[in-house]
């Protein structure tokens, strides 16, 4: 399964590296991407299913990247407000990247990769605003 899991990692890194982004821009982009993946996956899976998946993914990744303790699950969605206040932006970007990859991996595995292509395509549509805002 490891090679199948690599697919998500490669997709995310390719997408993320496509634009020469600053760390802060990457954080904004990753947050948008996670939100978009949540929304897209929620259309196929029920909200309640998505919630337990988010819970699992968050639980698992934060054990390796403790900065993710600052992420909360509220209103059936991941909230990054506190995380963005963390001064170590490189660590935050790394943690969000790991969270996104794990989310895609778990959704892929749970749906026998039925959603994988759709979610990867969704990822490619996520871009910063023209202003490159945060």
């Amino acid at each position: 399964m490891a090679s199948q899991d690599d697919v998500h990692s490669k997709a995310v890194n390719r997408w993320l590296d496509a634009g020469a982004l600053t760390t802060n821009q990457k954080i904004v982009l990753l947050e948008k991407a996670i939100r978009a993946i949540e929304t897209r996956a929620g259309l196929t899976l029920s909200k309640i299913t998505l919630l337990v998946v988010l819970d699992r993914v968050h639980q698992q990744v934060k054990e390796e990247l403790p900065v993710l303790h600052l992420v909360k699950i509220e209103d059936q969605s991941l909230r990054f407000t506190e995380l963005k206040n963390d001064p170590d932006s490189a660590e935050v970007a790394r943690a969000l990247t790991a969270l996104l990859i794990e989310l895609l991996r778990v959704l892929g595995r749970l749906t026998a990769d039925i959603l994988t292509e759709t979610l990867h395509k969704e990822l490619l549509t996520i871009k910063l605003n023209d202003s490159g805002e945060s």
């Binding site: 299913t49 337990v52 819970d55 699992r56 698992q60 595995r109």
Partner: protein
């Protein structure tokens, strides 16, 4: 033959269960093991867990109110699959939910249960028993919510879950659990052919086709063992049924009188019924078939006896001047005695398969098929079992002689009246009273032998000190018999 288990399947560790599931338990599914107390649910779950749980793929076993953990462990120790090291290295963790269930009910239970799941991240979860939740739920809605949450969370954590319970058929229609789970394996015990027999049946299993039959199983020191002869004893082109039709390999038996009657020889893989009423020489013919195979033809033979002990069979052979013990010592012959009251057809079919394969037997004698199947009353089942016995012979490309007891005074060719339709040939042994000599004259007739030009008619036989003598018609021996060497007394081991 070991079945190969695909990546997305879990090898159960239960003999033949993976064959019923056409390749193992689908990973990540939630499966109910239902059955009455003592049906084998807990043993089955633990057998699977001890086979599969590792520190990298750990298992959580939640005990509810059914049995204290200490008692379960004590009971599990007697099985060969039990490995105490798996409890030490974190592969398997037992958690007793009984106390919190009693004190705090279902709502607290789910958060406790999921707390353990999040901490351990198990690949396998067992809940024994899930049925307890039915009794603890305040109402159906609470049960539905609880069940749904458990199932959803285990799904999200990619756990393969086994939920055990004394569920009845009605539960499948009414219990909310059954609308969520992926599979149902039913275990039951019932009276079958006069004895209590355990049966396993896969009622439902998402993600795989599976056998829908009931299969007998037993619980022994290795855990569950499923017999499933319908799946394990099968004729395939690989073991000769197709290729041998064009130019069949033929076997000579090594006793000239009989070989002459059998024409160009018996096709390898064939089974012959040796039919006759009691006292016509069936057992002796089977014994000679096995003994001559080893001594004259260098073919290993196995003799399954349901009436005579091994010692009695050896003594009978010694009376004919045949040193069976020597052949047994050399590994050319095996005698397997299964006392008649102990016969369990499905179990012993599997045992026969194992023994035939491990010996590499080319001659198989069953004395008798009538006794072996005596508990079965349904002719259709008798026919199926005879077919499976014949398939064992065919799979080994051996020759089988099955004794069949014909009732006195009947014109039947076999005990049940169906055996003769399955086998490839029939050697009919008869006896009539001779009014002149006041003795019984015995006869042998090749009644049927598929694909072979064999001798017709009855041939007189005599049972003497060196076995069966066959005469041409009612006259002199059809082939001059070589003098039998006198035997030294049987060696002691």
């Amino acid at each position: 033959m070991k079945i190969s288990v695909p990546d997305n399947r879990i090898e159960s560790g239960v003999r033949n269960l993976d064959k019923i599931l056409f390749g193992g338990i689908p990973a990540g599914e939630l499966i109910v093991f239902s059955g009455s107390p003592g049906a084998g649910k807990t043993t089955l779950a633990h057998q699977i867990i001890f086979k599969n749980a590792t520190p990298e793929k750990p298992a959580l076993i939640f005990q509810t109110l059914s049995e204290p953990t200490a008692k379960t462990l004590r009971y599990l120790r007697k099985f060969s699959f039990f490995d105490a090291a798996k409890l030490e290295d974190g592969s398997i963790t037992f958690i007793d939910l009984g106390e919190i269930l009693r004190a705090k009910g279902l709502e607290q239970t789910i958060s406790l249960l999921m707390g353990h799941v999040k901490r351990v991240k198990p690949a396998f979860v067992v809940i024994d028993s899930f049925k307890v939740f039915d009794e603890l739920a305040q109402d159906r809605e609470e049960l539905r919510k609880f069940t749904y949450e458990v199932a959803l969370n285990l799904m999200a954590w990619e756990c393969t879950g086994f939920f055990l319970g004394e569920f009845r058929s009605i539960d499948i229609e009414t219990n909310p659990l059954f609308s969520i789970i992926d599979g149902i394996i039913s275990l039951r015990v019932r009276l079958d052919s006069g004895e209590h027999q355990r049966f396993v049946q896969v009622i439902k299993m998402r993600g795989t086709d599976h056998s829908r039959d009931e299969h007998a199983f037993a619980i022994n020191s290795e855990g569950l063992e499923v017999y499933a002869p319908r799946l394990t004893i099968r004729r395939t082109p690989e073991n000769g049924s197709v290729t041998s039709e064009a130019s069949p390999s033929r076997v000579k038996l090594g006793f000239p009188h009989l070989d002459k009657l059998l024409g160009e020889g018996i096709v390898a893989g064939s089974t012959l019924l040796v039919s006759g009423v009691a006292g016509t020489g069936k057992t002796l013919l089977l014994l000679e078939f096995i003994y001559k195979g080893a001594v004259e033809c260098g073919e290993k033979g196995i003799f399954f006896s349901f009436e005579e002990t091994e010692e009695r069979v050896i003594a009978n052979a010694r009376g004919m001047g045949w040193d069976l013990e020597e052949q047994i010592r050399r590994g050319h012959i095996e005698i397997v005695f299964i006392p008649q009251p102990d016969i369990m057809v499905e179990k012993h079919l599997l045992m026969m398969k194992d023994r035939i394969e491990s010996l590499g037997a080319k001659r198989i004698a069953i004395d008798s098929s009538s006794v072996f199947l005596h508990k079965i009353t349904d002719p259709q089942v008798v026919r199926e079992k005879i077919f499976q016995l014949a398939t064992l012979v065919q799979m080994s490309q051996a020759v089988g002689f099955f004794a069949a007891d014909v009732p006195y005074g009947s014109h039947k060719l076999s005990r049940f009246g169906v055996e003769e339709t399955v086998v490839d040939g029939i050697i009919l042994l008869t006896a009539v009273n001779n009014e002149k000599t006041f003795k019984r004259d015995r006869f042998l007739e090749i009644y049927k032998l598929r694909n072979t030009s064999h001798a017709n008619g009855r041939h007189k036989i005599e049972i003497g000190h060196s076995g069966i003598k066959i005469f041409s018609g009612t006259g002199k021996p059809s082939v001059k018999r070589a003098p039998t060497k006198s035997l030294k007394p049987a060696r002691k081991k």
